[in-house]
Symmetry: C2
Subunit: 388 residues, 2 copies
Amino acid sequence: MNDFIYDIPTKVYFGKDQLCHLGEELKKFGKRVLLTYGGGSIKRTGLYDAVMKELKNADLEVYELSGIEPNPRVESVRQGAKICKEKDIDVLLAVGGGSTIDATKWMAAAALVEHDAWDFFSKWAPVKDALPIVTILTLSATGSEMDTAGVISNPETQDKIGRLERPLLPRVSFLDPTNTYTVSKYQTACGSADILSHIIETYFTTEKDLYMLDTVMEGLMKTVIKYTPIALENPTDYEARANLMWASSWAINGFTYGGKKKAWSCHPMEHQLSAVYDITHGLGLAILTPRWLKYCLDETNVYKYVQFGVNVFDIDKNLPDFEIAFLAIDRLADFLFNKCALDDTFTKVGIKEEDFSAMAYKACGGKTVGGFKPLTQQDIEKIYKMCL
Amino acid sequence: MNDFIYDIPTKVYFGKDQLCHLGEELKKFGKRVLLTYGGGSIKRTGLYDAVMKELKNADLEVYELSGIEPNPRVESVRQGAKICKEKDIDVLLAVGGGSTIDATKWMAAAALVEHDAWDFFSKWAPVKDALPIVTILTLSATGSEMDTAGVISNPETQDKIGRLERPLLPRVSFLDPTNTYTVSKYQTACGSADILSHIIETYFTTEKDLYMLDTVMEGLMKTVIKYTPIALENPTDYEARANLMWASSWAINGFTYGGKKKAWSCHPMEHQLSAVYDITHGLGLAILTPRWLKYCLDETNVYKYVQFGVNVFDIDKNLPDFEIAFLAIDRLADFLFNKCALDDTFTKVGIKEEDFSAMAYKACGGKTVGGFKPLTQQDIEKIYKMCL
């Protein structure tokens, strides 16, 4: 069991009547705010007007950057950083899902350096500081609202690269489940697949770790599995949306890692898919995860699948270990592809075998990736083929 | 489901090789440190020397206050506050269990006011600020290392009063499971009873709340129930001590409350016992909790007992509801009184019926206490009698 540091000071206003605190929180950081958002759905839902009203009441000076893409691009980061510098921005307010928040995090970092934003990824330029970030979450998925991570795409180089840096942690996040009422069935399902993947990638480890954290992760997985179908059936079910929203934050804010070395497998494999094909991150993860679990299963790690099957899917613990393991993978696939109605193969989403070799190379950087079972380029190609 | 604010910025160094970070953390707050501890067990275990070495290496100016009592007294708080004022202390370092940390919290608050420390409890004087507090935990029990609460006793008035105040939250806590290796079987058992009580009092509610938080609480309860017997059998089992230690913090740091109104029942009932008889807090809670659960059980809330029995004790979900409920209470009593070997009646620990009326009056302040089922003085007296 490794030592670890727990340090997640993000303040969260959770619930449906919390936006009244937005002004007071932003004012702690200064007067000039850069408001960032995506394609404009927040204008249709009325959230934009509600936010602007609070900003006006708080007498803040507001600048805007809209149009941040899904799989956000470095060009948006450059634009945001430019505004921050030109307008001497004090605090960034991201209103959206993981893409908007991720892009905003890197704007906040790029605003304080002279070099190009892509240098953070191509040259791993240091992130010594960032402007303060406040978020209003509109999609339960990435957990970006309470973590230090941000993933940026560069279409020119077909790269999609994530990085965890302490200064990127949001200072304050507003989590109002009603802001996810208008999320489509498809995006809700992809979001849940993403949440589940964050937990599964942390849970499936051969490192010795705290049992307590395993029980927490099992609870989070049960929460996602219980409430996603309810949210799909009734998009305005507050209880379902609230449970998914809070689970999304805790799936990846660092609490569940404990002393584990956080070795990700499906995420780097997926990042290559969405870098090349621009598919939704959660969809790529959904297709990959059951195959990855099947590929990694062996005598030495079957105990973890048994624990997963018994504690999360309530499978009879008296069955033989491998039977429980296969049943658990089947139940996960059933959740993702039947209950969530996500496409279950690369073929269906148009991902082609001819790209596997190059994507697999990038996923592991020519070495290995993943801690549960270290995966080589060849392993990753095999897993990609299982997804056809 | 109520709205809530999540805001727990305590930084935690968890593990056995983290003390090297003590100096750097303390220096962030200044140069003059008040080191507080209890009866001196930290000198026997070598922890005192290890701490002093780090403080010396960091070139800090150290003052000391030892002898803080179990059920810490207001007189200790007064002494600590006096030193803080006289020596212009920058940061307080509490090394010990909940008693030492609680007392230190109130020293940190009392250091910044002119009035007597007891005014915080007798007159509810405001707590606008406090000196920064750093803790090194030596007993897994109260959760004081990561919460805003502190309970102080006044032997003159036979009062034991707790209060939650934001400025009392420790800034940094060092949680090294090996520092609990020397905790006696009895204190380990009392600590686990305390942890379990914090979870049970939050879990047993009729308020609508997040399912996700229920699953987390069930995981924490399973953790305590699994690892306490292991720690009692082998006091130097790192895994057991680590699980109990991290569970103690998360049982009561506020995460599990969500939007609940946090209505405590057994804690106020117990505070009267330890105020009058100076018994160990966890022991009083252990005796009270199964009786309180039995007393409150009815048709309207049996579903919660069923959830508890099935998810925590793995009781067959096909049994009739009330059978599951009674079995669950029996299993809890078996854990506390057989597995933990704690005394199971007031009679055994010398608590007398003649004091019930006065203690019950104080427990509910002459009104009612508790949210699961509001308890009057008469209810509390009946529960006390069930404990004889």
